[in-house]
């Protein structure tokens, strides 16, 4: 004789494993396997992942290299297809879509933020933010309006005409976040977004993410290898060897807004590039400037 809970669980769509909750499920990964063939060797990047993410969750994905977290991100981001298993986004099965169909999903339903910012050089911030809308066929005045709004939302009003080489790392990442917002996506995927930023700028970026999560109910999935950064999320999923090792809630996530208030106040005056104190010097050392390759932080 099954309990009521068991019956209720069975009547739900197959693969829904989490507790019954108010929020709808945005992402559902069911028994996802991914295998690469490199020559004679088969690499099992994912060995049966099942994961559910609800609307409004802020999830941090952690794990060592080779744990499968990047592969999972690529599958969630529709950049790659699982070898086996199903991926549901907003209830739609995306696992077997064509290349063009996946491009459309990425355009309209997903927002990406990368470690290396990945902005187009020699292009203004406004044009960078507009890019997803160009591919969505949005007409010019609407594109303009939404881009300006997005830039304002990340605190970059007035910087529309700057090119990436005229912006600091933190500002470039903010442009990237603005870009991820413009097509009003179901969720934002961030891959080590603070990896190339110094500590203070990292907090500023996490503050933007938390604000988007709180005020707009934006679902966020963030990959990081830094436990400090993961603590800003309200849920952490840890990968190991192609499987999920643990999946736990954070009861009291760090509050970036509060932390910013407590950090030494350094007016980040971008016009004036003078180092005025230790924090600024740290900026210079840690913060990635485009075109400069600094050890293993190098990317673009």
């Amino acid at each position: 004789m099954q309990s009521i809970v068991e019956i209720q669980k069975q009547s739900l769509a197959p693969g829904v494993l989490s507790k019954i909750d108010d929020a709808p499920v945005v992402i559902s990964l069911e028994h996802i396997h991914k295998t690469y063939t490199m020559g004679d060797v088969e690499v099992h990047a994912l060995r049966g992942i099942s994961l559910e993410i609800k609307k409004g969750e802020f999830v941090a994905i952690m794990g060592a290299s080779g744990s499968g977290k990047s592969t999972t991100m690529n599958i969630i981001g529709c950049l790659d297809r699982p070898t086996k298993g199903h991926y549901f986004l907003d209830g739609e099965d995306l696992s077997q879509l064509s290349k063009d169909q996946r491009a459309d999903i990425r355009n309209k339903k997903l927002g990406f933020v990368f470690q290396g910012f990945n902005l187009l050089s020699r292009t203004s911030a406004l044009e960078n933010v507009e890019l997803p809308m160009l591919y969505a066929g949005v007409e010019t005045s609407e594109r303009h309006r939404r881009s300006l709004a997005a830039l304002a939302a990340v605190g970059l009003a007035g910087r529309e005409k700057n090119h990436p080489n005229q912006l600091s790392g933190g500002q470039q990442q903010r442009v990237a976040i603005a870009r991820s917002l413009v097509n009003d996506p179901a969720l934002i995927l961030a891959d080590e977004p603070t990896g190339n930023l110094d500590s203070r700028t990292s907090v500023e970026v996490m503050e933007i993410f938390q604000r988007l999560n709180r005020e707009r109910g934006m679902t966020l999935i963030l990959v990081t290898h830094e436990p400090d950064i993961a603590e800003y999320a309200d849920r952490v999923v840890v990968f190991k060897d192609g499987r999920i090792k643990s999946d736990y809630r954070i009861e009291s996530p760090r509050n970036a807004t509060e932390e910013l208030k407590l950090l030494p106040v350094v007016e980040f005056d971008d016009e004036d590039d003078e180092a005025t104190d230790e924090v600024r010097t740290e900026d210079r050392v840690n913060e990635k400037r485009p075109g400069l390759k600094v050890g293993k932080l190098s990317q673009a």
């Binding site: 990425r106 187009l120 591919y135």
Partner: protein
Amino acid sequence: MRAALTMLGIIIGVSAVIAMVSIGQGAQQSVQAQIASIGTNLLFVSAGAQNVGGVRTGTGDTGTNTLTVEDLDAIKREVPSVSMVTPTVNTRSQLIFGSQNWNTQIQGVSEQFPEIRKWTVQDGSFFTDADVRTAARVLIVGQTIADNLFPGTSAVGQTLRVKDLPFRVVGVMARKGQDQQGRDQDDTAFAPYTTVQKKILGSPRVQVAYVSALSPDATYTAQVQIGELLRQRHKLGPQDADDFSVRNMSDIADAANQTNSIMTMLLASIASVSLVVGGIGIMNIMLVSVTERTREIGIRMAIGARSSAVRTQFLIESVVLSLTGGLIGILLGLGVSLLIPSLLGWPTAVSLAAVIGSVIFSAAVGIFFGYYPARKAASLDPIDALRYE
């Protein structure tokens, strides 16, 4: 800067094509102008059948005696659409004046020659029909002969020797310049044809007769009628081929034009090779560009660009390159076409067809040679592209 170098092949190719074609057109137009100056109602009747498109053009001597003065008189009398006839008999000889001599061509013609040929006398006068009847030993010289044998003085009234015979110079022809084949037309002397036949050559031969029709419209009729008359006089049956030929200026012009067209097409083809090279240059640069922008392509794809959008983007870029090169090439070619007449003395005439053709061809080169790089860009995998250093 890189763009400028890439376009160089196209620029050179297009400007070369434009320049070549305008030289060809210019030559063609000058041929037509020459025809107009000679007179479009001029016919050439000569002994022996000659090819129109072939090498011989009209002063050839086949050695046959099939054309006689009597034939020409008959033509003058009996063909209504003919207005004037002058037989010509040509020979080369030394003209000796005192200690000077000058080897030149002496054309034996009738007194109607200046009118038929539209070539006037500048000093003195042409000989008369009386001179023709009496086979008088009179000579009209061209400007080149006058300049060389009688520098500084008038040639008129002077006596010089032709094959030991004294001839009196009665006139100097107006300057004519070079003909289409580059021969100096002023290096000729004229004497009555009877004189040349009897006193110099000792033969009643007629080589070519210049016949002028009453009007340009009558030319074709005259051509046909002369043919019929001569066949009759030479007693040729329906199966017999003509033993003479009657040609008009446009036949000769056609021959020249045909050669001209072949030359122009050859030159343009060679210039087109440069366009192909230019296209290869574009393909090369676009391939490099795709590789350099691998990451950018990855970003665009991650943001949602479809493969077709990426392909179109790169195709457009390569067409812009090739079209810009084409336009610059057109401007350059036009400039060269305008300069050549003053620099080389060759006439040029710009061809609108060549300009339009160049625009289309440049665009086509851009599309054709840009396609492979564009396809390569579109087939990139976004994950790999994003990781590219």
